[in-house]
Symmetry: C2
Subunit: 472 residues, 2 copies
């Protein structure tokens, strides 16, 4: 596959792993699984990174289970890898040194909902859809939507975001406190239910996005929002990516509180027309959503329509009726499947970068030109209010020459974003796939600081080794 | 004064400090100051914590100056303490072990403003008022307003917030990236200008609120907002604190995007009536501000008025005319001076806590009862949308008996907030004054994690020693 994973990691000693498995079997019975198929499932990843299964999987049901796995594994120097739904994209759940995967899907209890305070306390295996179904009758919701029905513990660990982030923020902005199992099995509490605090180092944010490398999240206190009275959807085509991006910039500057604002490039719109039998103009498309009272969404839509017109947008349609909203947004919802259908059998490699919004049009246009030059197909969808966009690269994973071009493309995409003062990943995370870009992005000093923090909190490199921090 | 500061810190060896001062004098000439009065000024603090002046002050003008101070001091184990405007409230700038204060006020350049991206790059000594004056003509502003015209580097270091936080967030939500001088004088870059990133540990948030204990911030990239078209002010009196708090809870649940929502308790309103010659009903008062288009602020005001009425609020007045807005908010602007005037000559000890909003009424009412029991006066002002409130405790600092009651009050205030799942400080920080509450709030494991991080990034305890982390 050509993607090298070299973390200078030693595989855990067979004796140690045998001892761990024996102790885990005694403690967990048939909740300790070592079958090849289950281990493979727990290393499955929707990327082209090769799967590296763990030696065993434990199905955790409560915090005590996590603590006991860690207490058994850590003294033996056996790695421990947290698993939510397996929807991460950069090899986060691979076990390059072997070790034990803790599957947290059964830790899916909603422990407390405080509607007055707009927060709730949950276990890490709760998925965002399950949570929102639970909350619906209470008039509140959890706004982060990364697409996949991911576990919220996993979303916290990768600092996920998605389509709603332009209004509601990312996981970074929506977690009040965590409980984290540390290397001796004890639990670190990072915060309270207070909306803000200036009490010491921000441990909450240290664990958010740490990809399970500093400890295992066993409980989260997260923010909720009131379900808006009215939701309006809107769509507008533009002649050029620049026009669409300029409209977004103006909307941000005038503080129109759009809840979602998604860009589909011309290639993506063509895909969607073909797959979903739509007749959209095959030019860049903005899809929007507005949340608020009826009067507010009407005002927001009107204000955005004026901006779109000023920026060369075509017909602007908006609606609050659920069935019409779905129709307007169908292209976005079907985007992933439309890409798959474009070339059945090919792999789809999802990658993301994020740049200052003033550079977004440049970055997308240059990326499109690069795809053409390399004779590759990768429709583009962007959370454009944040300057974040995704390429869904179609590649025949059995064709080394095409894969080499794919790698060149991704490499250049990251370099382009970084040269524009952006980041190699807005929301997917580093995992294994993007370690090689860390030093270029932040400089060696930042990586040294990360390495020092990792060493301080996980001196034996037990927690998800081989992730985030590039090898020395 | 009765407040013990015991950090088990050894004062720096006289030989080491002499060597540092000699080297600093050679490098900085008359920008190295050792006069008693200047040293005293740099330990001045608006609290009852005793001043502990540094051994010397260096006036830094550029990043290289910070680097050179650190490179001179660190090998000699001489502490380095960053100084912005000296407006912090918990002894943050004291030098309990001696050392060198780096005064950053002259590092006040605005390096870059990116209006399209709604961000700017500044030196740490830029104050929020200076920044907003610079930005006004560009149609953008920096929304964090802690009251004092603090330096933005200092605000970052204490994770400051203030009246606007309910809408725009705190410093935690408004810093994209930092440059931080570390112990060997090299610079850590924590992020890019991208609005979001999932690239590794969140070093930005690690340094935000670290109170200068992990390094010295030498540059900040911060978020800006578009100046709203229309600003409306509003005021409403309530019979009870519960009524006022319930109105706030409903406003949050229905997602009315109030820009400010401040509670003044009856004692504070009485103070303001006396000082500012107002005739407000001497009951709890809510002051609000709405930002948006003319139609939006009208809608927001109307919606809040309905909620206020439902919660037993009295007459609701709102206005968009600047002079009328000032009049409505005069009580809030004069609050601090009105407290001072209540008992000239007494000290005013400002302290803050933050609780989940559902507990706010209970916390304020119990606090008022405690003041009565202890025969103390401490008007209360709250950033009530966040559950954060301040007591301005009037105490004769020369009366040990009254000071003892004051200490008892503050101690019980923190215990009360923590028992309600809140925090010992929403925005003032820990400094020296609140270290003793850290373990009770987060447990020993969190403090151990903080200690490990401090040790990892500042192994020789050079940066602002004796702050945040309680002694072992």
């Amino acid at each position: 596959m050509g993607v090298m994973i070299d973390n200078q990691l030693q595989r855990v000693a067979p004796k140690a792993i045998a001892a761990a498995i024996e102790a885990l079997a005694a403690r967990f019975g048939n909740r300790l699984i070592t079958s090849a198929s289950v281990r493979e499932q727990h290393a499955h990843s929707t990327t082209w990174l090769p799967a590296q299964p763990p030696d065993a999987v434990v199905l955790a049901r409560e915090t005590k289970d996590i603590q006991d796995v860690v207490r058994i594994c850590a003294p033996l120097r056996v790695p421990v890898i947290a698993f939510g739904t397996g929807t991460s994209l950069e090899g986060h759940i691979n076990a390059p040194a072997g070790g034990v995967c803790i599957d947290l899907r059964e830790m899916n209890r909603i422990l407390d909902v405080h509607v007055e305070d707009l927060d709730c306390v949950i276990e890490p295996g709760v998925t965002r859809k399950a949570l929102n179904e639970h909350l619906r009758d209470r008039g509140v919701f959890f706004p982060i939507d990364p697409g996949a029905d991911a576990s919220i513990g996993g979303m916290a660990s990768t600092r996920a975001s998605g389509t709603n982030a332009v209004r509601y923020g990312t996981m970074r902005d929506n977690v009040l406190a965590l409980k984290v199992v540390r290397g001796d099995g004890e639990i670190i509490t990072t915060g309270t239910r207070a909306k803000k605090s200036a009490a010491g180092y921000d441990l909450t944010h240290l664990f958010l996005g740490a990809e399970g490398t500093l400890g295992i999240i066993s409980e989260l206190t997260i923010k909720l929002r009131g379900i808006p009275d009215t939701i309006a959807a809107a769509a507008c085509s533009f002649e050029t990516v620049e026009g669409a991006c300029n409209a977004v910039i103006l909307a941000m500057q005038t503080a129109i509180p759009v809840a979602r604002i998604e860009l589909l490039n011309a290639t993506q719109v063509r895909c969607c027309n073909a797959y979903s039998k739509l007749t959209l103009p095959e030019t860049p498309l903005l899809l929007l959503e507005f949340h608020g009272s009826a009067a507010e969404v009407a005002e927001q839509s009107k204000n955005f329509a004026a901006i779109a017109k000023e920026c060369g947008g075509g017909e602007f349609s908006w609606t609050t009726r659920p069935e019409d909203r779905s129709k307007l947004w169908q292209a976005r919802h079907d985007a992933y499947w439309s890409v798959r259908a474009l070339r059945p059998g090919a792999g789809v490699v999802a990658t993301d970068v994020c740049v200052p919004i003033s550079r977004l049009a440049d970055c997308v246009v240059e990326t499109e030109a690069d795809l053409q030059r390399l004779n590759l197909t990768a429709p583009i969808v962007g959370h454009v209010g944040d300057g974040n966009f995704h390429c869904s690269l179609l590649c025949d994973v059995n064709d080394p020459e095409e894969m080499a071009r794919g790698e060149e493309f991704m490499h250049r995409l990251v370099e382009r974003a970084q040269a524009m003062d952006g980041t190699c990943t807005g929301e997917h995370g580093i995992g294994q796939g993007k370690q090689k870009y860390m030093v270029a992005e932040l400089g060696p000093e930042a990586i040294e600081a990360m390495r020092a923090v990792k060493k301080a909190l996980d001196p034996d490199n037990i927690f998800n080794p081989g992730k985030i921090i590039p090898p020395l």
